[in-house]
Symmetry: C2
Subunit: 313 residues, 2 copies
């Protein structure tokens, strides 16, 4: 359509990217921009599908690329590498975001970013500032994205403004981010269709340090029990891998995205290194790592330190 303004989030869109495009379309239309249209540049994930199904909202239309000179609004991202392939030929009218910045535009535009946990916290302010009515569907989309980005207000990225937004929306519409948010997060971590072997390989990384070879695999979950009731099957799959790849040890971390902890299964001849690294005792091959959610920042470095001899084995 002539003069269409396409609104989209980043590649591999998460719940914030998809719902922010829908919420921004609504805001633009309420402000008289009838040409505003939410689209997506990647597949909708299970968590977002739960949100859209819950509200009876269709997925935004998928677009592969855009025409030269296309008017666009970016939500939940600003960097060209995270956006539609030919963004450099578009005319960016607005950006609504909450990320670090790397942005060039040789023309004036509306740019609105804030250091908050979720794009929807910024959009909520924009609705208020423009005196635009928020209905229950829009409110639920906002709550969904904030619940997703902040793990129901429990991640360290949560700000006072995210909490304020949630509390105001909850009060006004009688919503409850805890019940709904947990259900939504659970839907996103649904692994019921996967075999144990598939689960441990959803996101598994191989590391080598000195003469030691090991893997740290991670899976997000909202329900540790649903994982650990099948512990015996995961151990079988892990031991298969250890044997096949001649690993010295293996850490499988089920990260509880609700409580921001990770429960691990640790196997292999050198599994004791994990005890030294984290200062824990492994019992029945498992241990709880309190407040540990990040492999890159929290799980790997202590193990590398332990292997380096910084910690006495």
């Amino acid at each position: 359509m002539e003069n269409e303004v396409l609104i989209f989030g980043h590649k591999s869109p998460d719940t914030d990217s998809i719902t922010s495009s829908i919420v921004m379309e609504n805001l633009e239309r309420k402000l008289g921009n009838e040409n505003a249209k939410a689209v997506r540049i990647g597949n909708v994930n299970k968590e977002t599908k739960y949100v859209l199904d819950y509200l009876g909202i269709d997925e935004p239309e998928y677009i592969e690329n855009i025409a030269d000179g296309q008017n666009v609004i970016l939500v939940d991202h600003n960097e060209i590498t995270q956006s539609v392939d030919n963004l450099q030929n578009a005319k960016i009218l607005k950006v609504i975001d909450h990320h670090t910045m790397n942005f060039v535009a040789p023309y004036q535009l509306y740019y609105r970013a804030e250091p908050v946990g979720c794009t929807q916290t910024v959009l909520y302010k924009m609705y208020k500032e423009n005196d635009v009515e928020i209905d229950e569907k829009i409110a639920t989309l906002m709550l969904s994205a904030i619940a997703s980005d902040t793990l129901v207000l429990k991640s360290p990225t949560t700000t006072a403004q995210d909490i304020k937004t949630v509390r105001e929306l909850e009060k006004r519409f009688g919503l409850d981010i805890n019940t709904y948010g947990v259900e939504m997060l659970k839907a996103g971590t649904d692994i019921s269709e996967f075999t144990p072997e598939q689960v441990i390989n959803i996101d598994s990384k191989l590391f080598e340090q000195g003469n030691k070879k090991f893997r740290i695999a991670q899976v997000n979950t909202a329900d540790l029990d649903s994982i650990f009731k099948n512990q015996v099957y995961f151990e079988e799959a892990i031991n298969e891998d250890i044997k096949k790849e001649n690993l010295d040890f293996y850490v499988f971390a089920a990260t509880d995205i609700i409580n921001s902890n990770s429960k691990i299964i640790s196997l292999g001849n050198d599994a004791p290194v994990v005890e030294k690294a984290y200062g824990i005792s492994i019992d029945n091959h498992t241990a709880m790592l309190e407040n540990v959610v990040s492999r890159k920042k929290q799980m790997l470095p202590p193990i590398l330190n332990a292997l380096n001899g910084d910690i006495n084995l």
Copy 2:
């Protein structure tokens, strides 16, 4: 001071840069940031001095550079080349702007830019959004900057939002941007301390095209009469230059920044080329160029075309 947040506009600050730093300091302090401090990274020009004197406000403190890790807020600019020399070592907390963008930050921040004529139009919205009281001094600072950037709402850069801001502030405080704005602009174009020779050399550029050599000099004014009552003295100075530099012709343009016109004095043997170029008649060595304010975009190209023979002489 520890934890000070320095707020400043661009190099060679104009009225928007200086007043926006003061207005943003006020907003930050009203919102509880007691460490906010407006500063400047260049000299205050005559127009801005008029504003500060009118309101009895001191010039912000001059800073040459900033400490590593200094917390800063940028107003009226975002590009590193336009900012304080060692900006790359600062922590930019916020940017409030209305320009094209070329900005990188490896951390989250508050970034607010809108495609409007003046930073103060954005700041006015931020006061409203945060329910922060605007007093008459703040209102006058806002009006001053908008009058400056938009030539009292007459430049092509003026937007509906700038006009709305001005009308609301005028109504609320009984102010009048026309009377005050013209006085302010006049103060900025005060050439009373200069000789005619100095005036024509404030901003004079030499051009050569084919075998022709000419100058186009420009001076901004809010009062063409104050220039042209001294026409005879300017002609003397111009003729001196023509003789000294062996120029084929000379265009001296007094640009009326209130009405967005330029009145020229054209002298030299080839002065008729100017008539052909602009499609005007020169009378008593002068002519009015309606809606012409830019030497680069509006004054030079027609003359080059005429000299190139694109227009028959």
